[in-house]
């Protein structure tokens, strides 16, 4: 009986990948453990090993094919003695969905925005000059470019963390930096968050500008003493003498199916601390402009990224030096009926909900906080005074969350304008479960946002 070889997933969040190379040809004998192909994503490269014995009967996806969906049939192994030609005409028809091999345009190619109907437009709202060319880029590339540009312009900037150099980044955010800047400025650390966070803070106290990558912010909990006690408080405790220009960055919040210890959203935790700036971008352009601003900022910045957003493509202005202001929210969609405030991956739910609401005749105004501390309360209040309603969306837990803070601010500053109570859409008040169905239930969803908007607009 023939064995079907499917496109494997390299990570919990991988949906598709490139089949870069076949290491066996049709007709070759295969033993368990033989490497038969190489699979590649923007994050990693992996070898596909055979688990069964037989003959590679048919290659269904040619080498060099990009964007092959996970679980697509890529080859057939015939059992010993089985007729190879027969195996080739297995009932599973050769896939038609295979993308054209290696013909996709290079990511950095300058293409006018109109050529990318699938990529959300980036409303510059006065932050970039008119007529600036916009190019598609993933958030991963935007973050990498931000670091590289700042490292080119300032010798004091260096990148440190686990697997940032030779491995090219656990999530490939630091890809290519070692090659350009060398091991003096792109530094692999041992697995020792508490220690290396303290070392980076100590270096920052002398005026160097470390960009410290945590493989995830879940691991930064071991280093949180240095983030708060050593980095955030020193300027105050020194009477303004000794600053700490450092960026702590890495993925924050839930990825997919990684369980309770790898899925926590720390936005509210860091948001609580005077002396810190907390930034959490939702798209590639903001990621680039804000990370550059964070690296230049003389204060400690906690820069919360999101693993699921890393691979998402957005339009990024093609400028020599694109820097966004920290502390300024962005109105991502204008509307008059209800204000939806969110940030990071929460924006995905907020914007989809706004689209659905539009079909129901409810015009939602969606505010992307971008910076969580200092929070751009003025923009929120101005919107709520217009709409009279407010919903917050975040993946973090409900108690003392970002939504709780927004709710209090709205109550204090726009109470008389409210036509309904503020509703918080949050992650559920539970440790993140592993089971797919439970995890889905634990996270917010578009339906909840839509329901909340209908409730506050009484429709």
């Amino acid at each position: 009986m023939s064995i079907e070889v499917l496109m494997p997933a390299l990570s919990p969040t991988m949906e598709k990948g490139n089949l870069s190379k076949w290491l066996k040809n049709e007709g070759d004998a295969i033993k368990p453990g033989d490497v038969i192909a190489e699979i590649e994503t923007d994050k990693a490269t992996m070898e596909v090993e055979a688990v069964d014995e037989g003959v590679l009967a048919k290659i269904l996806v040619p080498a060099g094919t990009n964007d092959v969906p996970v679980n697509q049939l890529i080859a057939i192994i015939a059992a010993e003695g089985e007729d190879v030609s027969k195996a080739g005409s297995a009932p599973t028809a050769a896939p038609v969905a295979v993308a054209a091999p290696a013909a996709a345009p290079a990511v950095h190619a300058s293409v006018p925005a109109t050529a990318h109907p699938d990529i959300p437009a980036y409303d510059a709202s006065g932050e970039i000059p008119h007529g600036t060319e916009m190019v598609p880029q993933t958030m991963r590339e935007a973050l990498r470019d931000a670091m590289a540009e700042e490292m080119r312009s300032n010798e004091s900037v260096f990148v440190m963390g686990e697997e940032v150099a030779e491995y090219q980044g656990a999530y490939k955010i630091t890809q290519g930096l070692l090659q350009e800047f060398g091991p003096r400025r792109v530094i692999d650390t041992p697995i020792t968050e508490h220690g290396f966070a303290g070392i980076a803070v100590g270096a920052a106290l002398t005026g160097l500008r470390p960009v410290l990558e945590f493989m995830t912010f879940n691991f930064a909990m071991q280093a949180i003493d240095h983030i708060i006690n050593s980095a955030a408080k020193t300027l105050y405790m020194s009477g303004g003498q000794m600053g700490c220009p450092i960026v702590f960055r890495g993925p924050n919040g839930a990825a997919a199916r990684v369980g309770a210890q790898h899925s926590q959203d720390y936005s509210a935790w860091y948001s609580n601390v005077p002396g810190l700036l907390v930034v959490s971008p939702s798209n590639a352009a903001d990621a680039k402009g804000l990370l550059k601003a964070a690296i230049r900022n003389p204060n400690p910045v906690v820069f919360l990224e999101n693993e699921i957003l890393y691979g998402q493509t957005g339009m990024v202005p093609k400028m020599d030096d694109f820097v966004l202001p920290i502390g300024k929210a962005r109105i991502a969609r204008t509307g008059k009926d209800v204000t939806i405030v969110s940030f990071s991956i929460g924006m995905t739910y907020a914007l989809k909900a706004a689209e659905e609401l539009a079909t129901l005749g409810i015009e939602a105004e969606v505010i992307d906080l971008r910076t969580i501390r200092p929070m751009d309360v003025d923009t929120i209040i101005a919107s709520v005074r217009k709409t009279g309603r407010c919903i917050t969306v975040e993946e973090g837990w409900p108690q003392s969350g970002i939504g709780s803070e927004i709710s209090a601010q709205v109550m204090e500053k726009a109470f008389d304008y409210l036509d309904a109570p503020v509703i918080r859409i949050t992650g559920k008040d539970v440790p993140m479960p592993y089971a797919a169905n439970l995890e889905k239930l634990a996270l917010p969803n578009v339906g909840e946002v839509v329901e909340a908007a209908r409730a506050v607009t009484y429709r």
């Binding site: 003096r184 020792t192 303290g198 070392i199 106290l205 002398t206 600053g243």
Partner: protein, 354 residues
């Protein structure tokens, strides 16, 4: 890694030989012992230690009068450690320590008025009244605190050394911590990285025998702190921390080791604090006799004083002149600290961000 390449090449080129030569036995040793100081050095050590002693006595007195709040940890008894270390270090070398930090600041040349006014929480304090006893800093004097979290200064001090290495400026970080902090996990994380990257840091472990009220033998499986770096190949020495000559001698060797690019060095300073852990210490964990014996037989200041009289034939009058000069400075600091105004209420919201 390349940041270590220059410094580490010697060790890395002959791992077999280095490994044999740097076994546990040869990595740690007792210090060579005291090497005589010049007359000027003795006088200056006497003055600097006396300054710390008198300053701390005054701080203790002012604490008792309610002029100093919160926690106040006095350095009395340990003066020879920081003074001896400073005698061996050069301009530009950094100092960082924990919460028992007044002595270190004075030894770094920071203004006693500014230190005392910080203790009383006044606007003329080094941190403009916002830091207090445990949190003072001076960019100018390369003093990096003053840290209230036990062990945190070890990582930060290693970071100072990282910066020196990154800039290749020849500076050395003097990172002080106590026998209590030596049991914190981050200390060993940093020992590992410091040796791995050959960072120029002298770890000065001030073993004053008690972590708050817990005797070393009740808290530490290995009470020879000079051996705490053995598994990372960091050399260490036990030093008589009550003898400023021994401290200086060992410090010179350790600092040179760092400046030569050979990586970190551990100095266990065997010392003693006469006063309690903080001002609110009941002192039930040790006998009065033990304290008395240390004071009578090992006092760091008395040792120098005796040598100045017996070996250098300095007259009592000359010493009295030094004493009264020190007292004048300390009294002026105390006057300043009690008359200087508290910070303006508007200061509450300044210095949070730059």
């Amino acid at each position: 890694m390349a940041v270590a390449a220059k410094a580490g090449s010697q060790n890395k080129s002959s791992p077999g030989k280095a490994g044999a030569a740097r076994g546990a036995r040869s990595l740690t040793r007792r210090t060579n012992g005291p090497v005589a100081l010049s007359k000027d050095e003795e006088v200056s050590a006497y003055r600097d230690m006396l300054m710390i002693r008198r300053f701390e006595e005054k701080a203790g007195q002012m604490y008792g009068m309610g002029l100093i709040g919160g926690f106040c940890h006095l350095y009395i008894g340990q003066e020879a450690v920081v003074v001896g270390m400073q005698m061996a270090s050069a301009k530009g070398d950094q100092v960082i320590t924990g919460y028992r930090d007044h002595g270190h600041m004075l030894a770094c040349g920071m203004d006693p008025k500014g230190v005392m006014a910080e203790l009383t929480g006044r606007s003329g304090g080094l941190s403009r009244g916002k830091g207090g006893s445990m949190h003072m800093f001076s960019v100018e004097s390369n003093f990096y605190g003053g840290h209230g979290i036990v062990g945190a200064q070890v990582s930060l001090g290693t970071g100072l050394a990282f910066a020196n290495h990154y800039r290749n400026d020849g500076r050395v970080s003097m990172t002080y911590f106590g026998d209590g902090a030596a049991n914190q996990g981050q200390v060993y994380e940093c020992f590992n990285m410091a040796e791995l990257w050959k960072l120029p840091v002298v770890y000065v472990i001030e073993n004053n025998r008690y972590a708050m009220g817990t005797a070393v033998s009740r808290a530490s499986a290995q009470t020879d702190f000079s051996k705490r770096g053995v598994s990372f190949n960091i050399p260490g020495e036990q030093v008589d921390g009550m003898d400023v000559r021994a401290v200086k001698e060992a410090a010179e060797r350790a600092i040179q080791w760092c400046r030569d690019g050979k990586g970190p060095y551990i100095l266990e300073m065997q010392t003693y604090r006469y006063r309690g852990h903080s001002m609110s210490d009941p002192a039930k964990y040790r006998s009065k006799d033990e304290v008395q014996k240390m004071r009578e037989e090992h006092d760091p200041i008395e040792q120098v004083r005796r040598r100045l009289i017996e070996e250098w034939k300095i007259s009592e009058d000359e010493l009295k002149a030094v004493d009264s000069h020190v007292r004048e400075i300390v009294n002026a600091a105390a006057d300043f600290a009690t008359t200087n105004p508290e910070p303006d209420p508007s200061e509450l919201y300044t210095d949070i961000l730059r």
